[in-house]
Amino acid sequence: MSDLYRIEGLRVDLPLPGDLLSALLPIRRPRLTILDQIDLAIAPGETFGLVGESGSGKTTLARTMLGLAAPAAGRLVFRGADLTGRAAWAGLRRGSAMMFQDPVGSLSPRMRVGALVTEPLIIAGRPIADRAAEAQRLLARVGLPPGLAGRYPHELSGGQARRVCVARALALDPALIIADEPTAGLDVSIQGEILNLMADLGRDQGVGFLVITHNLAVIRHSADRIGILYLGRLVETGPAAQVFARPAHPYTASLIASEPNPDPRRRRADLAIRGEIPSLLRRPAGCPFHTRCPIAVAKCRSIDPGPRAVAPGRMVRCHLAEDIPQPRNPAEEHSR
């Protein structure tokens, strides 16, 4: 099976903020490795969930996949074509779309909704006979009333702005949509609307999704496969149901365990994971997670664990992957 988007051995270094002088001088500013050794593949029509705490590099990965940040090493392949030349990137622009974390902020503030949703068609040079009718068609696809076409972004509610972003993403019938925190800032009462809409698009139109979030409940609900990002590395990837049922990395297990449960009868005493995510400037030696890991042993502090396959389609970076204490959440028992 050919992948929709494949990433091999990706490393991304971003420059540390510099001053004017360094901009004028031909010296290179010092760079910080934000993402490292990323391997990931998204199949057509699949929803891949990317989970990680803030600062772990989720947005940087999305930006790199869309050509907004340059890789320092590694390959990016979209529909079988290496993203190296102009033509390949143009193909990616036509075949993919991004939904930003802040929907209102990603819509040009002085343009009306109708112009915004049809803009991708204009940019791609697609001939459209009637721009207004095309706008109505796109708005209808995401369940928005036609009257919205005349509004400005700041006149939309959070849920409406999200839908406008989905409509815009759909304009070119993309094969891949990258959605950064698609439910951030939405009430539970309407976040289902967006997730259902995305699920429909995946099922009916074969759109593949990369869903970036730190909301585990959303990922558990919507993703086919997931990847867990910690300090710029994927520490675990695998089918969502399996990873949630039997996390192989202690970080994954801690994340699942720290998710607050709305059911007071399942209240747990040991909710919290220790400490905070370390600074990228001081990446721990050995396993990057050892400073917070509840089961770390001596070699974790010196030897960086490489990727290992623990089951078909499951990768983990941990020396002790077989010894992870499993979540004691009874809800997970029956889904094994």
Partner: protein, 317 residues
């Protein structure tokens, strides 16, 4: 049973024509953690502002907010200022709002104690002690830091420390974990749990995250369109909700559903316009169980046992 520490009766608050609170009554006993839950825009932050006696300028307030028996809202502003900190304190969603960005944490924590007669060194020691208590590593160093030098989780801990500094009877936390990652959220939940055990007062936690309610609270008030629509113990609210809104809210939460469950339920429609009076039940346009009475009559309070009650025509059926 002792008298409640916090007793809010018939609290109404309007921003001009917008009637953001409509006759809210809640209470909290010493040692209790109360949860206030509801969609955004339903008046949770407005309630918080009234609880600390700081409604937005221009807002009109009616009703009582009694803390230890005294009506806070009836006091002159000078007295209220004395009370703030000593009797009620607040933690915001964005901890930056609690601090002055140009002062060090230590200077501010000392400054917050300006009413206390003890010497400055003692105040500083108390500040360090409370930072240690909320789990800031190396509190003496933290005292010399500015708020922006701390990480998000540490900022919220510092804000909680500032709120607890004067040992308030009532701590109001408005969305204290909303801006945080899961791991930091869990740590703050733990901290609040521990503080409850030590702290003699009551804690009011405002959130739209049902997980926070489930892990932390003893009793819950569910708000909709500026009104309390259901109250009960956290177990009653989660396992036998009586108000259709409470039920819908719980059903929508993906955390409530084990595993991938196909389509997520939603609550179609949106909050009603809060200007003017609402006829009948505010939830009626979105309610799956609404009957003819819901359109015309304000819903009655229907009690289910000593702790649970719902404001709904259909709740008893």
């Amino acid at each position: 049973m002792t008298a409640p520490l916090l007793d809010v009766r018939g609290l109404s608050l309007s921003y001009g024509p917008v009637r953001a609170l409509r006759g809210v009554s809640i209470d909290a006993r010493a040692g209790e953690i109360i949860g206030i839950v509801g969609e955004s825009g339903c008046g949770k932050s407005t309630l918080a502002s009234a609880l600390i006696g700081l409604p937005a300028p221009g807002a009109t307030v009616a009703g009582e907010v009694r803390i230890a028996g005294e009506d806070f809202l009836a006091l002159p502003e000078a007295r209220r200022r004395e009370w703030r900190g000593a009797r009620v304190a607040m933690v915001f969603q964005d901890p930056m709002t609690s601090f002055n960005p140009v002062l060090t944490l230590g200077d501010q924590l000392v400054d917050f104690q300006h009413r206390s007669p003890v010497p400055r060194a003692e105040k500083r020691a108390r500040a360090a002690a409370i930072l240690a208590r909320v789990g800031l590593p190396d509190p003496d160093l933290a005292l010399r830091r500015h708020i922006h030098e701390l990480s998000g989780g540490m900022r919220q801990r510092a804000a909680i420390a500032a709120a607890l500094l004067m040992r308030p009877m009532l701590l109001v936390a408005d969305e204290p974990t909303t801006a945080l990652d899961v791991t930091m959220e869990a740590q703050i939940i733990h901290l609040l749990r521990e503080l409850r055990a030590e702290h003699q007062g009551a804690i009011v936690v405002i959130t739209h995250h049902l997980g926070v309610i489930g892990e932390l609270c003893d009793r819950v008030y569910v708000m909709y369109a500026g009104e309390v629509v259901e109250e009960g113990t956290v177990d009653e609210i989660y396992h036998s909700p009586r108000h259709p809104y409470t039920r819908a809210l719980i059903d929508c939460d993906p955390a409530h559903i084990d595993g991938p469950a196909g389509r997520l339920p939603t609550i179609p429609g949106r909050l009603p316009d809060l200007t003017g009076t609402l006829r009948g039940c505010a939830f009626q346009p979105r309610c799956p169980r609404a009957g003819p009475r819901c359109l015309a009559l304000a819903p009655p309070r229907v009690a289910f046992g000593p702790t649970q009650a719902a404001f709904c025509h259909e709740a008893g059926r």
